[in-house]
């Protein structure tokens, strides 16, 4: 069974290895220069309260166009890898056999359907995880100077925070779990639907919904967030809506993930004092001064940067458990004769 799995999966293995090899070559050629740029930027020895943000910004501005391109390409690749694995490795695994009727050949050798699927699932899932793992390790290593600088100056144009939704999915070990999950999802869809193309569509739809739902609905609550109650910096006020103030966070937890920020009054209630007489007169300066005299504060709810790995482990555990549940579903499904 191992031989057959390998033989049927050979082309994909070669393709994946080629992608890894080309990427490794490109990153190995450009990585040391990027690391050197970081080492000579002074960020490593900067003072957080004095010049870190400036040095980080200077470093990010000095990135070559190739480096910037590679950085975002790498993120895109880590987003794409689980999807590609689910769609092209997972969905056809059972569906293609049923479509081409080769399941009638495969399931009538001296190997039970359960064992046939178990071996295929295990080997291909391990390959998917190894591939994504190597991809993640290489890209995380190469991108680490940019990631570190970004954490020091989150307001820079290209800065992404690795704990925040956009970058989180493309760093650490989470991509490995996503790959395992997407693969199991594809196999399950193919086994239940029996046809490759609809199974691919179903895999894409379900995976997209889950990848959107996870950072917005579930991940923020995996650990109780931290709170910061700080004076509102008037420079952060961006507008007035009825009686409340709109403002960007006055406090940026370095490398942290801001879940919400709300303007509050000194008693801790949502700030409702923006309809001062000065504001009704539409004189912006006086309006601002009148609001400042009320000492509005800001409540910022966030996940600190130090929890990155805790979140990575939680996230990975969740997706690996989901992958195992799906694999169990497939094995249960295939045990009974259903498709002739």
């Amino acid at each position: 069974m191992i031989w057959l799995t390998w033989r049927q999966f050979r082309a994909q293995t070669i393709g994946a290895t080629a992608v890894l090899a080309v990427l490794a070559l490109v990153l190995w050629r450009t990585g040391p220069d990027l690391a050197h740029l970081y080492d000579t930027s002074g960020i490593a020895t900067c003072n957080p309260n004095v010049n870190c943000a400036t040095l980080a910004s200077r470093f990010l501005n000095k990135l070559s166009r190739i480096d910037t391109l590679l950085y975002f390409l790498g993120i895109g690749l880590l987003y794409a890898a689980p999807v590609i694995i689910g769609v092209f490795w997972g969905a056809p695994l059972v569906a293609r056999e049923i479509e081409t009727h080769t399941h009638r050949l495969a399931w009538n050798q001296t190997v039970t359907r359960t064992r046939w699927l178990a071996v295929k699932l295990a080997i291909t899932a391990l390959a998917a995880m190894a591939f994504t793992g190597l991809l993640a390790v290489m890209l995380t290593w190469w991108s680490s100077p940019i990631d570190r600088a970004s954490a020091l100056n989150p307001t820079h144009g290209i800065a992404l925070i690795r704990l925040a939704p956009l970058l989180f999915d493309a760093r650490g070990i989470a991509p490995v779990a996503y790959a395992a999950f997407a693969f199991a999802l594809g196999v399950t869809a193919g086994a239940l639907i029996h046809r490759t193309i609809p199974a691919i569509a179903a895999t894409l739809a379900v995976f997209a919904v889950i990848q959107i739902a996870m950072p917005s609905l579930i991940r923020p609550h995996l650990l109780p967030p931290a709170h910061a109650n700080v004076a509102l910096n008037p420079a952060n006020i961006v507008g007035i809506k009825d009686t409340s103030l709109l403002a960007t966070p006055s406090f940026t937890p370095r490398g942290g993930w801001i879940l919400s920020s709300q303007v509050i009054d000194t008693a801790g209630h949502p700030f409702q004092g923006a309809n001062t007489t000065a504001c009704q007169s539409r004189n912006y300066q006086r309006c601002l001064a009148s609001i400042e005299s009320l000492h509005p504060r800001q409540l910022i709810i966030y996940q600190p940067a130090s929890r990155f790995w805790a979140f990575q482990w939680y996230e990975s555990a969740i997706f690996l458990v989901l992958a195992l549940l799906l694999a169990g579903t497939c094995l249960w499904w295939i045990r009974r004769p259903r498709v002739a």
């Binding site: 057959l4 033989r7 049927q8 050949l105 009974r336 004769p337």
Partner: protein, 296 residues
């Protein structure tokens, strides 16, 4: 005890469609069984039930004394060549033999190699580039080299040209003679089965119309020509399968165990094709109950 295929009241229903109903069979070992019937009669369903690709919705089925597809030991004992003889288009002939060797502990590598050589198949050739006949031969080779006790072949020759058909059947007959394996094969062409089969099952509209040893079936059926007569006056032991009337003359196909001793009737033997056609057309006549009593 030595039945290769034993069913009792076997039925398979797909939502609205009753694909197989009330099928009771007991096929002894060592036979080459022909399963005949029109398209959609339920032949494939019966064979898929026999190899465990389908589960019955009613009744029971035992193959070589065990539940079909119930484990690797049972899988090893049954070789199956499915309808349209599936092979992996991207794999070469040699790859298919490797597949067989890796997946079957009882694999006879020499047998497989010899057969491929004798058939003149290029081991390096991909299955996707071969003709239907070559693919069928490759699929049969895989099933044979597994050294099963029972071979189940579902319309293996339907898509082949006459020459390839003959080669396929000859190579099958040769194998059966040497290795004493039981075979159940379906076809909607009686002529093909006559060459190799010694046991016959006629399946029409999801029900079994006739089942038995070919020699017994031929011995117990007679074509009779004689004066037209009221069917009620025919001897009690006669079961009329088909009847036609022209110019005061009747032609009957009857099943009877006794001799035909009425001189008014001119009796002649029937061949397998006439026999099967008579049962097929009887089952197709409206209002005709399936002849459950036609079973052995």
């Amino acid at each position: 005890m030595s039945a290769v295929l034993q069913t009792r009241g076997l039925g398979k229903r797909y939502r609205q469609l009753q694909a197989l109903a009330d099928c009771t069979l007991s096929i002894p070992a060592g036979r080459v069984v022909g399963l005949v019937g029109p398209n959609g009669a339920g032949k494939t369903t019966l064979l898929n039930l026999a190899v465990g690709m389908l589960a019955p919705t009613s009744g029971t089925i035992e193959v070589l004394g065990a539940k079909p597809g119930s484990g690797s030991a049972q899988l090893a004992r049954v070789g199956f060549v499915a309808q349209d003889t599936p092979t992996y288009a991207g794999l070469s002939v040699a790859d298919h033999l490797r597949l067989g060797a890796h997946l079957n502990p009882g694999w006879d590598a020499a047998l497989a190699r010899d057969r491929i050589e004798r058939l003149g198949l290029d081991p390096a050739r991909r299955a996707g580039k071969m003709s239907g006949g070559q693919r069928a031969q490759l699929a049969l080779t895989l099933a044979l080299a597994k050294k099963p006790e029972l071979l189940v072949l579902d319309e293996p020759i339907a898509s082949l040209d006459p020459l390839a058909r003959r080669e396929f059947l000859d190579s099958l007959a040769e194998f059966v003679a040497v290795h004493r394996v039981s075979v159940v094969m379906s076809s909607h062409l009686v002529g093909d089965l006559e060459r190799v089969c010694d046991y016959l099952i006629v399946l029409v509209a999801s029900r079994i119309q006739l089942a038995g040893e070919v020699t017994e079936l031929l011995a117990s059926h007679r074509q009779l020509t004689g004066p037209s007569r009221d069917p009620a006056t025919l001897p009690a032991g006669w079961q009329v399968i088909s009847a036609s009337r022209t110019d005061g003359q009747s032609t009957l196909l009857v099943r009877t165990s006794g001799p035909i001793d009425d001189p008014a009737w001119a009796a002649s033997h029937v061949d397998l094709e006439d026999l099967v056609l008579a049962y097929l057309s009887r089952a197709a006549r409206p209002g005709q109950r399936p002849a459950l009593d036609a079973q052995p």
